[in-house]
């Protein structure tokens, strides 16, 4: 083949590559992008607070049922200025993080076993799915009778909330791996463990992250339920106990402040930890449609 023709082939190919490469549209300026993301939720909160303020001003319900937004803010501000908020957050968040970490250690091997071993899938799989729909608060009485009013009882409840979610997320992530990928892996020389380490686990990552996110939500929820029910001086004061104290004192603004703080922590961890993690994983794989 003459050299000229070979050169031409290369040029044709380079041209095709240039034409066929997917075009990535650029999304406006950085400021506008951030504003577009931040403004809608902020607007929604403003509207919500305005309605709340209006209802309170109209004295629709009695003051001890619906507090003024300013009174709730006052409660929170007092916690901030006195520094008590640090203690509340610390007690609850460190419990949630430790509970979540232990759940992870249990759920990952469990999920791997369910996904890969047929007997385990048939035997344990439905149990784990069933546990996911059982509210973990239901375990509080048993946990208190078994362990007494202490941290172990609380961790037990958190584990039963988070482990099924994380394990199920891993299983569904593994189940959704396109079958061509392990086949390709085998053709490229992957052994049993190489196939799991280099092909299956990375391929299952998006589903697994979804499970982690849900697992966090469940462990936070379970923790709050456990703290709310299992109150004792020994346990220290977390957000759940703060809420409980508000109820005992018939202080509705304190109760609302407790709810707001629990909400802020739950959403905050999701936004600061899980959302960026998920977005970067999805973006790297070109799955940006869901990464808005």
């Amino acid at each position: 083949m003459p050299q000229l023709e070979v050169q031409d082939e290369g040029a044709v190919e380079a041209g095709l590559d240039a034409l066929d490469t997917p075009v990535v549209a650029t999304e406006g300026s950085r400021v506008r992008r951030i504003a577009g993301r931040v403004l809608p939720p902020v607007g929604a909160i403003v509207v919500f607070v305005a309605i709340w303020q209006a209802l309170w001003a109209a004295a629709f319900w009695l003051e001890f049922k619906l507090p003024a937004p300013a009174a709730v803010w006052g409660q929170i501000w007092q916690l901030v200025t006195s520094g008590d908020i640090v203690g509340l957050f610390w007690v609850s968040v460190h419990r949630a993080v430790i509970g979540f970490a232990i759940s992870l250690l249990i759920a990952v091997p469990l999920g791997l076993a369910i996904a890969n071993i047929r007997v385990v899938r048939r035997g344990v799989g439905p149990l784990v799915s069933g546990l996911q729909s059982l509210p973990s608060v239901a375990w509080v009485p048993a946990a208190i009778l078994w362990f007494g009013l202490n941290d172990r009882a609380i961790y037990w409840v958190v584990l039963l909330g988070a482990v099924p979610s994380i394990a199920n997320g891993l299983v569904s992530g593994l189940d959704q791996v396109p079958p061509i990928l392990p086949r390709v892996g085998k053709a490229l020389g992957a052994g049993r463990f190489g196939g799991i380490r280099y092909i299956l686990l990375p391929a299952a990552l998006p589903g697994f992250l979804g499970g982690l996110k849900q697992g966090w939500a469940f462990s936070w929820r379970s923790l709050m339920a456990a703290e709310l029910i299992a109150t004792s001086p020994e346990l220290g004061e977390g957000l759940g106990q703060f809420l409980h104290n508000g109820m005992s004192l018939s202080d509705i603004s304190m109760v609302f402040a407790g709810i707001v703080l629990i909400f802020v922590v739950g959403v905050g961890i999701e936004l600061l930890v899980f959302r960026p993690l998920e977005n970067s994983v999805l973006r790297a794989r070109g799955l940006t449609a869901s990464a808005r």
């Binding site: 070979v6 082939e9 290369g10 044709v12 190919e13 380079a14 095709l16 590559d17 066929d20 490469t21 997917p22 990535v24 396109p178 061509i180 990928l181 086949r183 390709v184 892996g185 085998k186 053709a187 490229l188 020389g189 992957a190 052994g191 190489g194 280099y198 092909i199 990375p202 391929a203 990552l205 994983v281 790297a284 794989r285 070109g286």
Partner: protein, 257 residues
């Protein structure tokens, strides 16, 4: 251009089939995919397997690739690990183009610097030098298939098999691409074949493609797959027409059944 898969001086056939049969299922419900297939691919030879649907072309490649086992007969493999290119590029979406090419080397425990160099060399071979950092979704279909080819070539080059002839298996690799891209990639494949001297077993259902690429075209019958006829493309003046007629005959024989 540097040759990356060296053609050995020995004339050992990379792969030889001895009366190979493959059935799926057992008893009366068994489906016979391949029956008594005798086939040989010479070192550095380009062989196209041609057949209609259900001729067991893909089964045959899977047997050579070690993804499946024959139920009867045996396959004599004298090559290094066969490189496989599938119909879909099936790149790992979490890895870059270079990362995909490096994957088989990583699984074989090749040190990092060596992996890098090898991947860069193979990407240059498929004319994707400088695009190693791209993710699969940032590449066109044709580019993805070339990355898959580079990755497959990387999987054959483990040092343990040095000196053995190399073998590239391709399962309708261009059938999902548009006509222009297919045409260009066929030219590319011929260039890479000449540059590397690897033997190629190429499955297709397109007679023109088979005649353009292959030195030898092997026609398989359908259900069960048997070797019907073979042509040396060089010695057959009207290869496309002749093979087309034979293929139609094979297909129409199924209408009566």
């Amino acid at each position: 251009m540097t040759a990356t898969v060296d053609a050995p001086p020995s004339q050992l056939s990379p792969v030889r089939f001895h009366q190979v049969g493959k059935a799926f299922g057992s008893g009366r419900k068994a489906v016979v995919a391949l029956d008594g297939v005798d086939l040989e691919v010479g070192a550095g030879e380009f062989v196209c397997l041609l057949g209609a649907s259900g001729c067991g072309k893909t089964t045959l490649l899977n047997l050579v690739a070690g993804l499946d086992r024959p139920t009867s007969g045996r396959i004599e493999l004298n090559s290094s690990r066969p490189a496989v290119v599938f119909q879909e590029a099936a790149l790992m979406p979490w890895l870059t183009a270079a990362g995909n090419v490096e994957l088989p080397l990583r699984m074989a425990g090749v040190p990092k610097a060596q992996r890098r160099a090898k991947a860069a060399e193979l990407l240059e071979l498929v004319r994707l030098a400088g695009l190693g950092d791209k993710r699969p979704h940032e590449l066109s279909g044709g580019m993805r298939q070339r990355v898959a080819l580079a990755r497959a070539l990387a999987s054959t080059t483990d040092s343990a098999d040095a000196g053995k002839p190399s073998l590239l298996l391709m399962d309708e690799p261009f059938s999902a691409l548009d006509a222009i891209t297919r045409d260009v990639l066929q030219g590319e494949l011929l260039r890479i074949w000449r540059a590397t001297g690897t033997a190629i077993l190429f499955v297709t259902h397109d007679v023109r493609e088979a005649v353009r690429l292959g030195q030898r075209v092997v026609l398989l019958s359908s259900r069960p797959g048997r070797v019907v006829r073979q042509w040396d493309v060089e010695d057959t003046p009207d290869a496309v027409d002749e093979i087309n007629i034979a293929l139609r005959k094979v297909i129409s024989s199924h209408a009566a059944a």
